[in-house]
């Protein structure tokens, strides 16, 4: 089995900022651990097969972007190894760079004075794509992504969604074998996100030997697009399997969702017997709190309802549901993606 991407015990530790000693002293006094060294990746081992659309799911700061930067030859690992297309990222970056490209969400790259078409063409030249080939691909991709009308608009005049579509075209114009997509639909409207998801999925499925590593914290996006998903938190891979298998892992458990009046005190739930994990989010506009419980069985439901009503709060809805990837995450980490 050949792997497009393989990592072995990959660890990346970021040193603290400059003036380390002063900051460490301050960090120690303020109890802020983030000013010291940060372990962004902790012995991560994954294998992504050729032709796979692989998802990396995790909250902000989980280590997704760090992993992509190491694979894109932009960062060196502190320890462990990473291979892309069979080449070591630390020792042999050139053949990797020929085969990869990367697009990040919210990217502001390019030059405002150039048109969208010129910008993409410029980046294609850094990969040695002949001008004629590049322009042909750009035109085709502009049509596909619905950016044809804006091809001659200066980049500074493009909206966020249009700009992200241009970035995606930049990623595909070099015809990479392995594409790293770092939260590519971040901040996009539904339509723009849908166009990107559809194109990426189709790009992998319709061609042989094309691989995508997609990082996202949109559960539905990962569920809908990916062949396999790794769940990452605090630099560690917690699970790695197909979306169905991941959900099956907690199918023996019961998921309940409740919508109640805004609750400040939710600590009591965590100590209840039978509650494996739970998460809560406040909906300020409705003045409600959404609670998700992963229960060993349905036994604790009555106790949960009683705890809510004893605080004088009203239960607006109660729903037993099939587990989602978010439930898998809550089950593993003990919190949501807040």
């Amino acid at each position: 089995m050949s792997y497009a991407v393989e990592t072995r015990d990959l660890t990346r530790i970021f040193a603290g900022k400059k003036k380390r000693r002063i900051r460490r002293k301050r960090a120690a006094s303020e109890g802020d651990e983030h000013l010291g060294p940060v372990t962004a990746l902790d012995e991560v081992s994954i294998q992504i097969r050729d032709g796979e659309l692989f998802g990396m799911l995790g909250p902000n700061g989980a280590g997704k972007t760090t992993l992509i930067k190491i694979l894109a030859t932009l960062l060196l690992p502190t320890s462990g190894q990473a291979f892309v297309a069979g080449h070591d990222v630390a020792k042999d970056p050139f053949p990797i760079r020929q085969r990869i490209n990367m697009v990040s969400g919210g990217e502001t790259s390019g030059y405002g004075l150039l048109t969208a078409r010129e910008n993409v063409w410029m980046f294609s030249q850094f990969y040695g794509v002949p001008s004629k080939v590049s322009k042909g691909r750009i035109d085709e991709l502009m049509h596909t992504f619905g950016l044809w009308d804006k091809r001659d608009a200066k980049v500074r005049m493009l909206s966020t969604g249009q700009r992200q579509k241009m970035n995606m075209i930049r990623g595909f114009v070099t015809d990479p074998d392995i594409l790293f997509l770092d939260e590519p639909t971040l901040g996009l409207d539904v339509n723009a996100a849908r166009v990107i998801r559809e194109y990426v999925t189709n790009w992998v499925r319709s061609q042989e030997g094309k691989t995508v590593l997609l990082t996202t914290h949109y559960m539905a996006e990962a569920d809908q697009m990916c062949d396999r998903i790794a769940i990452i938190d605090n630099g560690k891979i917690l699970a790695c399997d197909t979306p169905d298998n991941l959900k099956r892992m907690i199918r023996t458990e019961t998921t309940f969702r409740l919508e109640v009046d805004t609750m400040r005190d939710t600590a009591t739930f965590s100590t209840m017997q039978g509650v494996k994990n739970f998460s809560h989010t406040d909906d300020i506009s409705k003045n409600r709190t959404n609670l998700t419980f992963i229960l060993e069985d349905e036994g604790p439901v009555a106790e949960i309802l009683s705890a809510i009503t004893s605080q004088g709060k009203k239960v607006h809805s109660l729903q037993k549901s099939e587990p989602t990837l978010e439930d898998v995450f809550i089950s593993m980490v003990g919190r949501g993606f807040e």
Binding site: Q98, R99, T108, S124, Q125, R170
Partner: protein
């Protein structure tokens, strides 16, 4: 499953890749920067104001010198030739011609210097600071991820900067010639071209080297750019022949020697010799002859390009190790 397409790695491919990269990176500078017609006002006409200030000062000096030569009195019937009265009409005429030639040479020096200012400012603000800007807007990590050689990136920036600034400099030069009526005498056009290109390559080589250093220093580098603007105008002799500094006792030679580390100093000195004739200013204000200065410029060009290559390689290693240079987020 079909394996991914085999990618070429041979020398011909690599040369093609890097040439395309140079063209690609120079494109925004050549095409993009000229999309705003306001540059004609800001970068071709406004510099004339700075030049005009020096021109008027030198014209005033010239007028005063000519008035002294032409003015007669009972003790100096043929006017003053320097500190002493002129001996006869022939000496007076010779001094008068010399005063007019020196005034023209000074004004021409200023126009030439003002033209070269465009290149120096471009090197400072658009070469040296560029990688820092690229990092801020998110381009740098995309450049570092591409298979092109890093020198192709800097080379593209330099070629784009040279072409763009040459258009601006030529506009300023032509405007200067017409507005101030300057005369240039080019005796050796090939040597002139060689000096000009060697000076440009050395200047942009310096800018390429600074580009990596600026990225390491971050925002502090802005102060360095500001520091290197006006003082370098002076120490490199942008508005006067720098050889004059060697004649100032005490600090003069020190300032001139420090200024000579900027290739514009020797470049301007040689260009002035080649466009105003070596006999201008009595032939006493030149540092070396033009050919020697050409050799120095070629040496500087090679040195700065090599240093630029190594400083960028060092920067890339540091960026990958510490993870805080290629992305503004880390």
């Amino acid at each position: 499953m079909k394996p991914a397409a085999v990618r070429r790695t041979d020398l011909r491919y690599r040369i093609g890749l890097n040439l395309r990269a140079v063209v690609g990176r120079s494109y925004p500078r050549i095409v993009g920067a000229n999309r705003e017609p306001s540059w004609i006002f800001f970068e071709a006409l406004l510099p004339l104001l700075g030049i005009a200030a020096y021109v008027f000062i030198y014209q005033a000096f010239g007028t005063r010198a000519i008035a002294a030569i032409l003015g007669s009195s009972s003790t100096a019937p043929w006017g003053m030739c320097g500190q002493a009265p002129c001996a006869d009409a022939a000496q007076q005429a010779a001094y008068l011609a010399m005063a007019k030639a020196n005034t023209n040479a000074l004004i021409a020096s200023v126009v030439l210097g003002g033209t070269m200012v465009a290149f120096w400012l471009n090197v400072l603000w658009s070469m040296a600071s560029q990688l820092y800007w690229e990092k801020e807007i998110g381009n740098l990590q995309l450049y570092m991820m591409a298979p092109m050689n890093r020198m192709a990136l800097l080379g593209g920036m330099a070629v784009g900067g040279m072409v763009m600034t040459s258009m601006r400099a030529v506009s300023t030069l032509i405007a200067g010639i017409f507005v101030f009526g300057v005369l240039f005498q080019v005796a050796d056009p090939l040597l002139l071209l060689a000096v000009f290109f060697a000076a440009l390559v050395a200047l942009y080589g310096l800018g390429m080297m600074f580009a990596s250093l600026y990225l390491l220093w971050g925002r502090e580098a802005w102060n360095l750019s500001a520091l290197m603007e006006e003082p370098i105008f002076f120490s490199s002799g942008f508005y006067f022949p720098v050889g004059g500094l060697f004649r100032v006792p005490g600090w003069g030679p020190i300032v001139a020697i420090v200024g000579s580390f900027v290739p514009a100093t020797f470049g301007l000195d040689a260009l002035r010799q080649l466009t105003l004739s070596t006999t201008a200013f009595g032939g006493k204000l030149w540092i070396f002859d033009a050919k020697t200065e050409l050799y120095i410029l070629v040496f500087m060009a090679v040195l700065f390009l090599v240093l630029a290559r190594y400083s960028l390689a060092y920067l890339e290693t540091l960026a990958k190790r510490e993870g805080k240079l290629t992305s503004r987020h880390q």
